[in-house]
Symmetry: C2
Subunit: 113 residues, 2 copies
Amino acid sequence: MADIHPEHAHIIEQTKANMPSEEILEKTAEVFKVFGDKTRIRILSALSEGEMCVCCLCDLLEMNQSAVSHQLAVLKSARLIKSRREGKQIYYSLDDAHIGAILYTGISHAEED
Amino acid sequence: MADIHPEHAHIIEQTKANMPSEEILEKTAEVFKVFGDKTRIRILSALSEGEMCVCCLCDLLEMNQSAVSHQLAVLKSARLIKSRREGKQIYYSLDDAHIGAILYTGISHAEED
DNA sequence: TGAACATATGAACAATTGTTCATATGTTCT
DNA sequence: AGAACATATGAACAATTGTTCATATGTTCA
């Protein structure tokens, strides 16, 4: 590891002071981690069009019900989606508009170049 | 797996038609995956203040040089950061303004509630 | 109440990931 | 050219993750 040049010491302190807290950094990484899976992106993308029940998602994604439910649980515990029951079926939707915005930003970035 | 109700079939087709391509969905997940690590979020957060050399990052993050370089390589191959050499040192910075925007959106979300 | 349906959940396994250690590459200065 | 410095990279390992299979929970309807 190299010695720190005198003129760098100040920048390091400055940057350290401006960094979000460890707790926020941790939370931020956790949120992105949840977005960082193709199956979950597909679910979020579908839900960005409106609420949908589990069986529809299974059909849409062509995945078995267990795999879909597991990912819905991950998304829900991260508060990216919410659910409501209607009879036997459970409908999922994006938790708030913010989620759609994050998703859209990421998709836009991926669509470039 | 349940049968699809007739009124759902239409929604499924509609949603499927509006979904980004598999390639875009894949890319989107990959980008978020790179954002989904605390060390990398700390690096990106630091670089959002301006360019920084590797040894400064090591000092700032209190991590060894190898670990930092490995993560810089991940960030660079995902085109989230770029580098420039100045003598013996290599300075890293965010690849474009878009990256800062995505980071900021995630941090803002984490800061809520 | 019991059968059929819709969804959730636990265990297990392969695959992926982040860090460390050791070493290689590339630059500067004498 | 050789020494010192700054960074990159390969191998190895523990830890985490996504899916599958089997089964549990909760709801509706006869």
